[in-house]
């Protein structure tokens, strides 16, 4: 199980208000319909008005779940235009979980956060240059070619 692991519990408690629901319970159906639920595990990051800001499906072991959750909250903060908070969380992923599956995505968005905050293209290109070196085979390195 993923949730008993301390890094996962810490990230959930520090960053989120957690809500868990069973998709076999009839009374949960309105929420499941609202979010077009189709498959478990189904994890969403929601804004305080219920707007979905990030989602992923599928089991992750603790060493992958914690960085995925932090990156998910980072992306939600980015979409709320909270660039500093978002960048700090993405950098936390890179510092604490540099070999995680989500690290390349985090590195991509560090550049986006920095650029959105500064409007200086060198901030974007600096981060993306690092991404190219650290994750040359990643889809995120493909995505940063333009």
């Amino acid at each position: 199980m993923t949730y008993p692991e301390i890094s996962v519990r810490d990230a959930i408690g520090r960053l989120t208000a957690p809500y868990q629901l069973d998709n076999t319970v009839e009374s949960n159906q309105p929420v499941l319909d609202r979010y077009r639920h189709v498959w478990t595990p189904d994890l969403r990051i929601l804004d305080t008005d219920g707007t979905e800001l990030y989602r992923w499906n599928g089991y992750l072991p603790p060493a992958e779940f914690a960085p995925q959750l932090i990156a998910a909250v980072a992306h939600a903060r980015l979409r709320r235009k909270e660039y500093g908070k978002a960048q700090a969380l993405y950098e936390e992923v890179l510092r604490r979980f540099p070999t995680s599956l989500i690290a390349a995505e985090a590195e991509y968005y560090v550049g986006v956060c920095a650029y959105r905050a500064s409007h200086n293209s060198s901030d974007l290109l600096k981060a993306w240059h690092e991404l190219e070196k650290s994750h040359p085979a990643s889809e995120w390195t493909v995505k940063q070619n333009f």
């Binding site: 949730y3 301390i6 519990r9 810490d10 959930i12 408690g13 960053l15 989120t16 208000a17 957690p18 809500y19 868990q20 629901l21 069973d22 998709n23 076999t24 929420v31 499941l32 979010y35 639920h37 478990t40 595990p41 189904d42 994890l43 969403r44 990051i45 929601l46 804004d47 305080t48 008005d49 219920g50 800001l53 959750l69 909250v73 939600a76 903060r77």
Partner: protein
Amino acid sequence: MSEIAWLGSLDEALSAAKSADHLVLMDVFNPT
């Protein structure tokens, strides 16, 4: 740290997130 304090409803989670400057983590699971 203690166990995760899962909230009982979406409204409760949205309210808790708003007051704590958090975001909601919604986890849909199947018990089988």
